[in-house]
């Protein structure tokens, strides 16, 4: 580790305050001083040094914000070497040093936003942090950076954010939208968003389209999934729902990922879109596209919207997704 003089000096300036903060935080929840120290020296100190290089007057404010957040996250066992969410440490390690200017511009807002974001992203957190690092070089300010982060939340796995993320993405400048949508060849943001709206499985920057098996989601509850029984499928209000009689989940899915999230039990069963069909021999039809998907022969139930066909097989807890894509899919 390089010199951390700015960090030590800032700590010394705020010594009484930081000691008081630690004392108060430790009143009801034991905080391992060693764990906190390790967190501060490995993650906060480099951040402070980075801030000191680009914006020395902001050092105290940044340290204040990082210290309070460290107390909270380490104290609750979320961050630190024994923390339950390693992605928080990863985000701190990568992003504060990579973008000290953004951190210094709005320390509390940035620290809160990024720390909270990685707690939602699960397996997508690492990809999100990497993309945020790229985005930070392209964004012309904190607000744009954080907006890109919200779009990246969708494209790194939180499929339920799709609608609001697409709306937000339209306001991003092209270079930033390209990072947020993982589309390096992007030239027209509005056109790309329009395309992703009507064909959520297909890259808007690649020519060609065909119907294919684009994903699979759902599993037995004993294997970490959500279903006790093989689920049934229905459509309501333009959404595909899956229910095993115990839970009812709404499907959110597109080229960036798929999620099943709780929803209220359906009041009635709606009929599937007439343009979405499946036959016994595995022929799938969606709009003007059709394809034979042998792996889906003998399906148990198939329902569809204008963009996605969902299929379940006998004795299986998985939901197979069929959509118009530019690649092999599945």
């Amino acid at each position: 580790m390089g010199t951390v003089r700015a960090f030590h000096e800032a700590l010394a300036r705020g010594r009484e305050r930081y000691n008081s903060l630690f004392a108060q935080a430790a009143v009801a929840r034991p905080i391992d001083p060693a764990a906190l120290t390790h967190h501060l020296t490995t993650l906060v100190a480099p951040a402070i040094e980075a801030v000191h290089r680009v914006r020395p007057p902001a050092v105290d404010a940044v340290l204040d914000a990082l210290f309070e957040a460290s107390l909270e996250l380490v104290g609750r066992g979320l961050a630190g070497s024994e923390g339950r969410i390693p992605a928080i440490d990863a985000a701190w390690r990568t992003l504060w040093v990579a973008h000290p200017g953004h951190l210094a511009a709005a320390p509390r807002r940035v620290i809160t936003a990024i720390s909270n974001a990685v707690t939602h992203l699960g397996d997508g957190a690492d990809a999100w942090v990497a993309a945020m690092e790229r985005a930070g070089h392209v964004a012309d300010g904190v607000e744009r950076w954080l907006e890109a982060g919200q779009v990246l939340g969708w494209t790194c796995g939180l499929a339920e954010l799709r609608t609001s993320a697409l709306a937000l993405c339209r306001s991003l400048p092209e270079p930033l939208a390209a990072v947020a949508l993982h589309l390096p060849d992007l030239v027209d943001v509005d056109a790309a968003c329009d395309a992703l709206t009507v064909q959520p499985w297909r890259s808007p920057t690649v020519a060609g389209a065909r119907l294919g098996h684009v994903g699979r989601i759902g599993a037995f509850v004993g294997l970490g999934g959500a279903f006790r029984e093989p689920p049934d499928l229905l459509v309501r209000g333009g959404w595909i729902l899956a229910t095993d009689g115990h839970v009812t989940l709404t499907l959110h899915a597109d080229r960036y990922g798929a999620r099943l999230l709780p929803s209220e039990p359906p009041e009635r069963t709606a009929t599937p879109e007439p343009c979405a069909r499946m036959t016994e021999d595995g022929r799938a039809s969606l709009g003007n596209h059709s394809a034979v998907l042998p792996e889906l022969q003998g399906y148990r139930r198939a329902v569809g919207t204008s963009t996605t066909l969902a299929v379940v097989l006998p004795h299986s807890h998985a939901i197979h997704l069929v959509g118009v894509t530019e690649s092999d899919g599945g």
């Binding site: 903060l21 009143v27 914000a65 809160t112 919200q150 939180l158 959110h252």
Partner: protein, 525 residues
Amino acid sequence: MSAADRFSKVPESPTHPRPDSPRKRTFDVADLYRGPLDQASDGARVALDEKLRQAYFWMVNQAIISPYYDVEYNDGPAKRFTFGTGAGLTLPSGQSYSSFVLLPLLNLAVRRRCLLVGGPGRGKTASAVLMGLLAGYDISEIRRAIQHGQPQMTVTDLLGNPLPKDLVSADSIDDIRISWRRWLSMRVKIIDEYNRIPTRTQSALLTVMADNYAEVLDQIYECPAAAWYLTANDDAGGGTYQVIEALRDRIDVVVKAPHFSPRFLGDLLARIEAGVRPEAVVPPQIVFTPEQLDQVEAEVLDVVVPQAVRRRLEFFASQFEFCDPAASQFEYKTKDTVKLSGVAWHLVTASDTGRDRVKDIGSTSRNGLSVRSLMTILVFVKAMAWFRGQREVSLDDLRQILPFVLHDKLVPDHDSPFFDADDNGVLRIDRVGWIRRLFDLSCDEYDRLLLDVEDPVAELQAAFARGLEGVSEADARQRLVAIENQLTEWSRGGKLYGHLYDDILKLKYLHQRYTNYLAWLQWAQ
């Protein structure tokens, strides 16, 4: 909320959620940034009323152990319990507040003068210090600037000393420079135990409080606008030295420091053992810059006082000044006339017969409301409404604020039969309860008289307010007749009460204005 979150955590917005801000029911990218860390701000985007509410909740949750909700608001029916021989307890159904924390904050917002009273060791000075911290000063700066009242305090101790070199070498008094005390330049001024300041020094303090400047040897120091916090162990104006009336009158609100509830001893113990010092960990997000405090005051003054609320305040205020036996000249029939005459009060009230002195709330006080106190009421009710996120003052705001503004301004007449009736005896002691009861009774009377619907003075006033431009001689005479007819009707009525007294004077005013106008019209012809 765990104790670990307690001391540096800024309450999450919104601190005053209302039905017009419903919880989200759809997935939104904004949800991505919500999580275990509270929504944080770097101070730039939070609305100032929200910021002040955050400061309030940080104080009550983390800084001051004040688990009381004596400023009660209800959003619907509130449960009420009675204990023992009549001790009532209300469980408010709306967001309610502790006056000991709320009033100093409102005082910070409108930069007036707040007196904190209560026994020793109840947090009066600590509360004032927190106000200084919220205004952006650091703890050492504030502590050094507190003026501690003591019997040997001189004017120069308080304000500053002439430079010795100048004293020796100056040819005239104008050449003597003063080393002004630092506290004079601060936007939060704290006077601890102000009733221990000698009388002569109190006069110097009065100049600073009233006129915002300090004077020593003809040298003037203009002070910036500031929020004042004075402390005293009692509010009766006594102490080591009697507080001069003019200084007492400059106090805008009086707040009692409540007792410490022993059921919270555990919290106190935790602080002692951990060495907790809330004043060392004030969250930066709730610290106001000078510009923000300026903006706060401007926003407060923009809050509207609706006419319906203003009328009830007018009606309430008009109850107190009138004293029929005080004079033969109608305009002088006031309690102030009695006070200035030096005649014993009980002799005057004994001759005030005919009115129902139990029902007449004006009989409960020895004085009326001054212009200064009315202005203070208006400013503080605006501040109360603004603090609650409203852009108009409500009747509830008025009801809650009145007792704290009038606490030392409205002097009770303990011999009034009002206090002997029903359960009113306790109101001799409970000044806040007394003033609130008076306001409730005033509102009941206002409703009984249907003044929202039938207010002849308001109609005549409205006609006058439209201006005299284009009003013909015939119209003016017609209006004069209307005024005289109304006065004739009232003169046939029963007893004369305070509100009628002021209405009569208002009609006399209007009559005089029209009379002068007629004279001018005739001269112009």
